[in-house]
Symmetry: C2
Subunit: 110 residues, 2 copies
DNA sequence: CAGGATACCTAAGATAATTAGGTATCCTGT
DNA sequence: ACAGGATACCTAATTATCTTAGGTATCCTG
């Protein structure tokens, strides 16, 4: 995906939703899960993902635990209490945004 | 709207769709029609609209006719042949993008 | 032991909007 | 008569968000 600029602005709600559904995840895992759920259509680039995760942690939306798998580190992210609220809200925003779009693209059913 | 960054990248398909449905429109009219169809939720800013219209004309997607209503000019935009193709394609892209999003946000129904 | 997958990261550039202006006409109310 | 809101066009500076293109390092398979 990402050929289209449509993707812009959707990354944050996507991440919050994945963390809501899966409890806690590390960065690389998030990219794999998104790819899996969309059968390869959604490719989250690491250059977008990591800076966003850091911003969300900074903002108190996410919290981290670092663990090691063998000799390799994994930084697990999960929703804070504020993050859970945020994930609900961002889902609602996305839902309502899509509803409004459909008023443009399917005016008959309006 | 536009509090959310979701809107980014959607303006072009929206404009193409409105022109497809309404034949020909001038800039200000596009903003009003979008507002009307979404009952006030979609506010297309002129700073985004006009430069985009110019780019689409430059690209041969849109063509213009200037008319005057009283002493005031109106620049009407309509889809070229290439523009009609483009409007179909951009609709399909939007549709498929939303389908993929729904795989993230409603994984049960996948 | 090369190469792909796993796992983290950042910086420079591109893209696409917002914000905040500018110009000018038309119409309504006081 | 004229202030102010709607109509109608436009652009430039800034901001937000992503892509591209790197960098480091471990693990596993052929």
């Amino acid at each position: 995906m990402q050929k289209s600029a449509l993707y812009k602005g959707c990354l944050e709600p996507i991440i919050l939703q994945l963390l809501k559904d899966n409890g806690r995840m590390y960065g690389y895992q998030i990219t794999q899960k998104a790819r899996e759920l969309t059968r390869g259509h959604l490719d989250i680039t690491e250059g977008a993902l990591y800076p966003l995760l850091h911003r969300l942690e900074e903002a108190g939306i996410l919290e981290t635990e670092i663990e090691s798998a063998g000799n390799r580190m994994r930084k697990y992210y999960s929703l804070t209490k504020a993050g859970k609220k945020q994930s609900v809200q961002s889902f609602q925003e996305l839902q309502s945004f899509i509803d409004h779009l459909s008023l443009i693209f399917q005016p008959k059913t309006a």
